[in-house]
Amino acid sequence: MNEQKFQEKIDLERKIEPKDWMPEEYRSHLIRQISQHAHSEIIGMQPEGNWISRAPSLRAKMILLAKVQDEAGHGLYLYSACETLGISREELVQQLHDGKAKYSSIFNYPTLSWADMGAVGWLVDGAAIVNQVSLQRTSYGPYSRGMVKICKEESFHQRQGYEIMAEMAKGTPEQKEMAQDALNRFWWPSIMMFGPQDSDSPRTGNAMKWKIKRQFNDELRQKFIDQTVGQVKVIGLEIPDPDLKWNEERGHYDFGKMNWDEFWSVVNGNGPCNIQRLDHHKKAHSEGEWVRKAARSYSNKQEIINA
């Protein structure tokens, strides 16, 4: 009965709110997805944080720092959205540290030159937007509203990233080389951010029926590729895919085979920065423990005094 009403609501495009009845599986699917999304925002601060101290101009430094700070804000919204499902931020962080919760695998790649700040903003935030625009229509109210808020900032990030890339592509030969190298390294991992091909993706079923997920991975990936190819051409760089070409009949770009062995190997812990990223987060968390304790102890004392 409950379940039928729930589904009717979803079919009518009404949002599910925290107090509404929902199937346990819907709840756990959302917790998994939203927390993975939140952790991605937070772990994603590191590859770009890596260049804040070395940003080459005052303007670049301020833009980059503000961008990484935005990502922290996104993490906050998303942790809060997740908490409406009855799980605390501490528990979610614990799951991350225990390896039970994942984050987007793209952040397990290193940022090796300033051009990577361009590539990450342009491609990684760009791919994230395509996904998040689609998720603005997700059925869970707090998640959907979070996406609306976040998308506005993400489009700034993408433009700023593209601007860095464009500037470098028309710069000195060394800069152009850095730009192309960044594109070469980030292209394939970026298009794999949309997840496995739908033919290999076992969880899609219920997520679609419950309208948590609104579009298939392959659809989103194609949209991203179609919109990015033109941008690459404008700045005179080359996408590292010899099979990429316009398909008149489909009205889309065809593209080469993705390396899913590498993808799964990185997801399962064997990427260049997996250990480093998690250690960084654990270290900051444990070094902050005495500070959080002090703040709690102080506020307890104040409560007693004010009681």
Binding site: S53, S57, L58, L65, A72, A284, V291, A295
Partner: protein, 247 residues
């Protein structure tokens, strides 16, 4: 020439401290605090940028970026307290508390400068510094009167950073000239109020004011602690390695 030097001192302190604080990004004790520290760093970078733009105009030759990225250690005039490493969270808070208290008093006076640009930049900076002061004060209380461990760490930080507070009130011939002409601030006169404000927070935080001992000095002549060279070599790496590149 004195005005340029005077402006650079202000700009450099903001720039170097901002560079330091930005090192907290992704390492804060909570997500909220991570965001707050980045905010402070962003404010200080913005202030540095404003003062460097003015310095660039006075200089007539170098752009603000060249001033930030192409000067050597001995050409930087930031207060030594700003270049000290972040240390633990208590170190960062104590450094911020000392500096923000000073900045609050300094910009309050500089807002009245006969130099319109300096006055306008100070008004803007003062608004932000009030928030920085509030932020560091509230943490002084929580850390000082939190747990035994946080108290000890904060007391240690007070002890360490004390040696860099003498510089805040020093005046050399540039300061005297600027102050006499109504452009600059008589820094030595800020000390009474600084002591009052600092003592009050130290007492409220159940901490102890360190005993005056050896005070570091030198930044007005471009003399620094060993920390600054490392900070600059990281911050200036790209423009130095690729002098012909635009970013």
């Amino acid at each position: 020439m004195s005005l340029l030097n005077y402006t650079l001192r202000i700009a450099d302190s903001s720039l170097i401290l901002a560079q330091r604080i930005s090192g907290w990004c992704s390492k804060g004790p909570t997500l909220e605090e991570d965001i707050a520290l980045s905010n402070i760093a962003l404010d200080l970078f913005g202030q540095a940028n404003g003062f460097l733009e003015y310095a660039s105009k006075l200089d007539g030759n170098k752009t603000p970026d060249q001033l930030a990225f192409n000067r050597n250690e001995r050409e930087f005039f930031n207060l030594q307290i700003t270049e000290q490493e972040n240390g633990n969270f208590a170190d960062t808070i104590v450094r911020q508390f000392f500096f923000s208290t000073y900045s609050f008093l300094f910009y309050t006076e500089l807002s009245k400068s006969t130099d319109e640009t300096l006055a306008a930049l100070s008004v803007k900076s003062l608004k932000e510094v009030k928030y920085h002061l509030q932020h560091s004060k509230s943490w002084m209380l929580r850390l000082g009167d939190g747990t035994e461990e946080s108290k000890q760490k904060t007391q240690d930080a007070l002890q360490y950073f004390w040696q860099f507070t003498g510089e805040l009130f020093e005046m050399d011939e540039v300061d005297i000239e600027m102050s006499k002409s109504g452009i600059g601030v008589g820094n030595s006169e800020l000390k009474t109020n600084w002591d009052k404000m600092v003592n009050e927070v130290i007492n409220q935080s159940t901490l102890e004011r360190p005993v005056d001992a050896y005070m570091q000095t030198g930044s007005k002549k471009g003399l620094h602690t060993e920390c600054l060279g490392h900070l600059l070599s990281e911050m200036q790496y790209l423009p130095r390695a690729y002098p012909n590149a635009k970013w």
